[in-house]
Amino acid sequence: MRIVIENRIDAPRVIVVLVPIASVAMALVFGGILMSIVGADPIETYAAMAEGAFGSPEQWKVGQYYSITETLVKAIPLMLTGLAVGVAFRMLFWNIGAEGQLVLGGVSASAVALWMGDLIPGIPDSAWVYLPMMAIAGIIAGGIWAVVPALLKAYLKVNEIITTLMLNYVAILWYQYLFNVAWKDPAGYGFPGSAKFGECCKIARISGRLHWGLAVAFISALIMWIILDKTKWGYQIRLIGENVSAARYAGINIGKNIVGVMLLSGGLAGLAGMVEVAGISHSLQEGLNVGYGFTAIIISWLARLNPWGIVLVANMFAAILVGGDQIQMTMGLPGSVAHVLQGAMLFCVLGGEFFQRYRLTVKR
């Protein structure tokens, strides 16, 4: 008697639904065990995380939606970076550099906000001028940072995982140098950080800290959905990811596609950086490199690289992150439990995919 692994041609609906749910449940169990080890009640902790992320009925009754808006605030960069790495992963280009691309997007958007007025005298002090310019600067910076590994991969076959990753460190060190030293606000009482942006460089708020960057994220998801699922380019990207040699025989220029996709990918991550500085910090300061670009990897893979799936999972992960911050504040538990949960979820989903792709049968 032996167990034989067989390919599934079509996974049953039950499996398709059950596997992700079971994976998330397993990750929660793993997190629960970890919490028990360090002496915290898992149920209580998860409840505190949920309350931290969504608030409680008592809060909702008095019109307090602070928790929900904070979750959405975190979801904005996660959606954008998730979309960014998602499009690259579709063609199996491993862009691990969204973190650095985001940071540089924030840096160059800040440069526009701080100095465009000085460089171009007479430019109107209007958000309609400044915000688009900041967005373009962010997209270009992120795109350039992503296109370096793309060119190296496309024309010299240099491993993109390592180049995108190493460029993260370079970008983060550069950004830290800028807000700590070069762009430090002389009027900032010695605190690190650039001068505050003018009013015309701030994205308007919806409620609490929640800003209209949310709309930017949703529109980006819509555009990515159209590109990936409705255009010839999207089809080419998918074909390259599924079978590079078939794509080459079909006459698709792989190198050009790598460069194009990475411009798009880095641009989206750069846009996330711009949205962060213009929507939240209103200056270049600490807090851009908090790991959005890495969490995005998990998000896009869990969402099976589907743009709307990425939107959904990014919001879920934002809730986990905000919940993690909450238990750090109220229960003194390390907030990194959120990252542990996310990593564990990715593992469980990876393992679960096996049961989706293959069927185990016992043969005599």
Partner: protein
């Protein structure tokens, strides 16, 4: 050039490079078996935090090393299970390992001190220098190479052993064949799954040991982000070393030497800001990788094991 300067550069390069050698040699063994483990950074940082915690509580660096290696083995076996048995994508599984490892290490670092206190800022035992008689007295160079701690000496011994193992022993031939052509190895009666599991786990142990070197010797103690991308540099060094353990030492010393230059410049009161100097190793990694890849494409010699990253499926599938 005077010997004292060379000796001081060698000294710093060795101190900074030893953990890289362990991690690189570990990853070489894993990749030689055809398994790409991109979880090096995560396993290394877990080795660092658990190794330090164990040494802190037992007051013995020995137990620190043992625990770090066991944790490395455990994490690598998860990667092995997911990629070898469950046939998942090795790139994604490795990335997941790195993300899980860094998250878990940060979590544990805040909890593994005495009575659940954070480990940050705690002072624990560390490896002490032990001069090798005679050799360490051979001038300043002898002193910088042979007046070090046990982990460094272990590295001197490990590298040639692994080299002989890979290239001269039958078991090494089996290892290489599994990475180059698992189908043929299987037909020859080699248990491909067992070999891949074994070397993934052994590789994880060495990576964990590299992490322990960081927290018990190079920068004693636990600090968040103690690895600072060294795990990823190790992954790049594997390519640089063309999967050869001896060459990995050259690569690791090159990177260690960059640290030496940083120290020198800072000591000399350079006006270049520290954060820009700190970019050097990362930029160097990219430059080295580009040069190596370019040379390899010129010589048409493929350095990577042919089956690297490809899951091996034995049973016929419908």
């Amino acid at each position: 050039m005077d010997f004292a300067l060379i000796a001081s550069i060698v000294s710093i390069a060795l101190a900074a490079g030893t953990s890289l050698v362990y991690a690189t040699v570990g990853e070489i063994l894993t990749e030689r078996a055809g398994i790409l483990n991109l979880g090096v950074e995560g396993i290394m940082i877990m080795g660092a935090v658990t190794g330090f915690a164990a040494a802190f509580h037992t007051e013995s660096v020995f137990w620190g090393v043992i625990v770090a290696m066991l944790v490395g083995a455990m994490m690598a076996s998860i990667h092995a299970f997911v990629t070898i048995t469950l046939l998942a994508d090795q790139v994604v599984s490795g990335l997941a390992m790195t993300l899980l490892g860094t998250g878990l290490a940060s979590f544990l670092g805040q909890r593994l001190g005495t009575d659940g206190a954070p480990l940050v800022g705690q002072i624990g035992p560390r490896f002490e220098r032990m001069a090798v008689p005679v050799l360490s007295e051979l001038g300043s160079i002898g002193d910088s190479v042979f007046n070090r701690d046990i982990l460094t000496y272990l590295m001197y011994i490990l590298v040639p052993i692994v080299w002989v193992f890979i290239y001269k022993l039958r078991a090494g031939l089996v290892l290489r064949s599994v990475g180059e052509n698992p189908q043929a190895s299987d037909a020859m009666g080699v248990d491909v799954f067992r070999v891949r599991y074994a070397y993934t786990i052994v590789g994880g142990m060495l990576v964990g040991l590299g992490g322990a070197h960081l927290s018990l010797s190079y920068t004693p103690g636990w600090t968040e982000n103690i690895t600072g991308g060294r795990g990823w540099i190790a992954v790049a060094l594997v390519i640089f070393a063309t999967w050869d353990p001896i060459r990995s030492v050259a690569g690791a010393l090159l990177f260690g030497g960059v640290n030496a230059i940083q120290f020198r410049l800072q000591a000399a009161g350079t006006t270049i800001p520290a954060s820009l100097l700190n970019m050097l190793p990362y930029i160097l990694t990219i430059v080295v990788l580009v040069i190596v890849t370019w040379f390899e494409s010129l010589s048409k010699r493929v350095g990577a094991p042919a089956a690297l990253g490809i899951p091996y499926v034995r049973e016929e599938r419908v």
